[in-house]
Amino acid sequence: MLHRRMYPIWFVAPAFIIFAVLYIFPTVSGFYYSLTDWSPYKDNIKFVGFEQYRDLFQTKALYEALKNTIFYAAIVTIFQNGIGVALALFLNAKLIGREFFRSVFFLPCILSALVVGYMFSTVLHPEGILNSLLELVGLGALSNDWLGNPDLALYAVAAVNVWQWAGSSMALYLAGLQGISKELLEAAVIDGTNYFQRLRYVIFPILMPIVTISVVLGLIGSMKTFELIYATTGGGPGDASIVMNIFIFKQFGQGLYAYGTAANVILFLVIGIMSLVLLRVMGRGDK
């Protein structure tokens, strides 16, 4: 009783109404279309059951795209959060111009995918500044056609993704670190712990909910990547860096609307399962 008075329903009503009407309804209708022969060629749409899915599962390109998407997401999530945590810890300590540096590392998040795409198409070009830099420090042997080499393209774009979004993970972790009381840390110092022990026994446990959020969000976001990859490699060269959303985009580009929507449903299910598993595994430390 008290419970319900303390947290009444009208707190959640506005958000739920907006969300249910404008998001749930169109998305579910969208899913329905995957069971039809929807296309721009004709107006009357026929129900065809799972035919689109059957066609999809026989397409090699789907598996390529799925495989790439999962690799990409794994790499990006791990590195983005790893670097994000390191940055947050680093920039939480005392140094000159701390606020300036925090802004600098967050800066890339503000850029649109277009800018980042153009930027790195230039930087990662065989004659671009990354290779020039490598040659300058004597590592010229490592220079490569980062975005144009089919074997490297996917990883190169993953690196660009981390470049852009590590700052957002950093921001989340920084916010979380502010919630750790100074007294607790000072008590730990007095108790004679070193930095790494403090990290492990004081900081990380309190940070865990944020880590869960950041990792799950990172996973979902990177599995759904479209604009960044489209702006850097377009899925190329020749499908080397194709991910699910680019695959779907191409299907829509050929007027294969129902087929593309079916692929979207598959992506949704894959991401759903992966994130639920992750939430379960990571959330356990939460209770």
């Binding site: 008075r5 947290y7 140094l95």
Partner: protein, 273 residues
Amino acid sequence: MMSRRVGVYVRTVIAAIASLVILIPLYLVFLGSLKTGAEVVRLDLSLPKDWLWSNYQEVFVKGKLLNGFKNSLIVTGSTVLITVFTGSMAAYFVSRRTEKWVGILFFVFFAGLIAPPSMIPAIKLLQTLNIAGEYAGLILFLTSLYLPLTIFIMSGFIKALPREIDEAATIDGASSFYLYSRIIFPLLKPSVATITVFVALYTWNDFLNTLYIISDSKKWTLPFSVYNFVSQYGTQWQYVFADLLSVMLPMLIVYLFLQRYIIDGMTAGSVKG
């Protein structure tokens, strides 16, 4: 004492070097925005022969940046306000109530993070509600798009606040709303500031959703301006860069402003433990 000072300097130097990774590519784009068409095709850090600040003027006029800015302000401002306001309350509800159906509700919101919106049904729905092609339609659509993110992130931060606070305040006679607005919300300032920045960012840079929902070109937001300078056979990169940097500037200011707030909120946000 000495090692502390050295530590500060060492860390500063490391940070400075690391920040070059961020700053150099940006510098490249910045330089490019000041070059001529032939110069800008080169891929190095060469300086432009003349620093063509006039490129920005051209972009401002031809890209109709003032109009775009006004429109972006309307859309982003409204979306952020509605999303953060309704989303934080919803997050609070979902994090504190323990019934099973609330857990399912959370799950439904969470699914919104993953599920892709289908534009044609969405637009038809907006048409039924008579807000298609209007700011209201776009704003509400974007709100529904970013509510899951808001609820998800804020839930995490709310869960970090112990229930004892709620119980103590309620025993003292606080109503549900007083508890939320006067006690809980101030403690959430760092996360509210954080989520505000994110929602503002995504909305400001939104292109595809706006493209589909708004068909009146007078209502277009800043991200559209760059397409005045692209062509299949001869894009004018110097203008593209100038435009993209100009569009980014307001968001930079927003972040700088809010970033202070995130840090200052730290005293309010620390939890006694």
